[in-house]
Amino acid sequence: MAEDWNQDVGEAVYRSRDPIKNLRIRVTLQRVTPAIALVQRVQEEDANRGGLELQALHNNPEANRGPHPNEEKEEVVISWQEKLYSQFEYELYQNEAACRTPLDHQYYQDVLSLERGGGRKNRRIFTYTDHDRYTNLEEHSQSVTTSLDETPTFLVERMANVRRRRQDKRQIDGVGMWHRFITWKPSDDFIRSNHIINTPVQTMYIMADLGPGGNLGLREHEHVLCTVRVDANGVITLKPDVTGTKGPYRLEVEGEKRQLWRYTLQHVSESVQKEEQEREQHIYKDLYSRHKEYLNSLVGSDFEMPPAGTLRVFINGEIVSAQEFEYDNLYVHFFVELPKNWSSPGFQELSGVTQTCRTKTRARDSVAYFCYPFNFELFLSEEADSEETTQLPVLFFEVLSLDFWQRYRVEGYGSVVLPGTPGMHVLTAQTWRPVELGVLTELKRFFIGGSPELEDLTYVRVPETFQGQRLSRLGFRTKSSGSLTVRLHCLHHSRSFLDGRSLRKRMQSVLDHLGHSSQQSSIQNVLDAFQRARRRMQQARDSLPLDILNTSKATLEQSTA
């Protein structure tokens, strides 16, 4: 057969913000008989040839189908949760004795009114809505394998009792739920209404009764054509998908007579008018912009900026931990030294002392945890880049220990260069402490505390007072000790970052200079000097009164003339 069956019967998920009651699906169901297949084949060929010879045959099937047009082909447009009765239900709800629930009585009334109106319109296609028993119970007890006696497991039975939705009343006592998270003695109803599903789902089945001709209304001939699920967030799940450009679905009926049915699903909901859609979008846009304005008014738009010509460096940091030091009960004393061109606001402390922390053993190392917060706000004046190189601020620290008799010992000296790039930096600095020759000082340190100390902590790096060609530490003995971990979050803030890429790059180069050769920096200096001169000239030109410019131009013209 030439027909392309649609093999893909998987789920399709859609999302819509519009009310679900507008959903319409057109279902076309047709039995595939050899005659139809033949006719279609012929029609196709007919179309290909464009001839006239098979005109008679073309009309034939319609004549054949005349007595039972609905038998072979049926087309229904179904809206969301629209109830179409099956033959079985139609007969059942005609007598009032069978009705037990209020829903049954409503169906009874509906069926009566349908009967008065001349019977139901649909024959084979019918629906099970969200309220029907089928939806709630029987969907879980369907067999899933071809096994002849597939018995539902315990889990299946339990799942069948779980209503896959949440009751509306839950939202009302939502405030009450806040106070007790756990219901220790849940009732059966509670379990039924609260288990499993978090978003309420409404389900609808489009079914077909594929029984033989005059024998409709038997349960075993009912087949699901389409399952539609909609949750409260507007997510629509169709299984299978509506057939758009794809071919129809096939449905093979097991039984003594193997019948083949083809059906198509079409999405025929009325779409929104263009103007209406635009209006809706406009309203949404308006709403969002108003909300944004409201948020803006909460904060205010005047962002705090550093003065022009400076780079503001924010450093949020923590002294995290100290590892592998000799003695216990450690504390850290630190300060930041600002090199030339750097400044900081006067009220800001650039030093600190942590708490004393007793160490613990972590993977055979002794560690002390500090979590000591500090934040520095440093300013680098932009003229700095005309100098040779910009030095970065350095954090100097000493780790000390305090013993039972309140004596302290120096455990180690170290330093961390504050990073020149923004971002997060976790730095671990190794430390050392000075020792003297001989065992005497070590004995002293052990018994009565105290040990040689540095007079100036900046000796860890190049001392402040150092002037000379080479730094010599000859004769100075040290003993390496533990390490200190510092975590730094850096932010750079400057007006010049706003002025465009080139300046921004130049600013970046201030910090890049550090690693570069002096030659490169001198080229940079020349370029910068040129830039400055050019800018000055432009400024001078701009500040000139217009008439001077004009007259000069006029004289120029005269001279050329």
């Binding site: 738009s301 003065p307 979590c371 000591y372 934040n375 971002g423």
Partner: protein
């Protein structure tokens, strides 16, 4: 020196605010002497910062791990801030508590960290410490639990008075934080 005092305010042509989203979780804690732990947390920001949505403090459940290795809380953190200044970048302080078999709660550790200012996902380890009492208190604590606590949490996120404290190192808290920044580049701030 006094450059900070005459600070200029800059407002671009269209009003945009610098926004920070902090999304993540307090994963759990490890390295504590006992398990059955819970955590109280809070975020502290400067005056220029405004919380637009989310909660800035909370408490996790008590987790009693099956394999005595690490307590997992997986406690969600989701905040949205807007700011008009960089000062007072959000800081997170944590308190880890232990609940014993009698239902008594004792403090196991304080911790502190700055929220990263680099956009992206960060896996962070935050070590904790606990104030140490006198030796009598320590012995008492060994048998019946308890122990001294801080009078105010300002000591955790401020460093100036820390030197008064005698502490002992405790375990570590594991966090995962994702930071999303918006419009900072419009004000000339480089974050990464």
């Amino acid at each position: 020196m006094n450059s900070h005092t005459h600070e200029l305010h800059y407002s671009p042509t269209c009003a945009v605010m610098a926004e920070v989203h902090i999304i993540g979780q307090i994963i759990g804690a490890s390295g504590f002497p006992q398990h059955s732990l819970f955590c109280k947390w809070g975020v502290h920001t400067g005056g220029a910062w405004k919380l637009l949505s989310g909660v800035v403090e909370g408490q996790t459940q008590v987790d009693h791990p099956q394999n005595d290795d690490m307590a997992f809380w997986s406690h969600p953190i989701d905040m949205h801030f807007a700011t008009k200044g960089l000062q007072g970048w959000p800081k997170l302080h944590l308190q880890v508590w232990h609940q014993d078999t009698f239902g008594r709660n004792e403090l196991y550790g304080y911790s502190f960290l700055h929220i990263p200012s680099t956009p992206g996902t960060h896996s962070l380890l935050s070590p904790t410490w606990r104030p140490l009492g006198t030796w009598q208190e320590q012995i008492c604590q060994m048998f019946v639990g308890g122990g001294p606590q801080l009078k105010s949490s300002s000591l955790i996120y401020g460093g100036s008075d820390r030197y008064r404290l005698q502490t002992v190192a405790m375990g570590q808290v594991h966090l995962q934080l994702t930071v999303i920044l918006r419009n900072f580049e419009r004000y000339g701030v480089e974050c990464s």
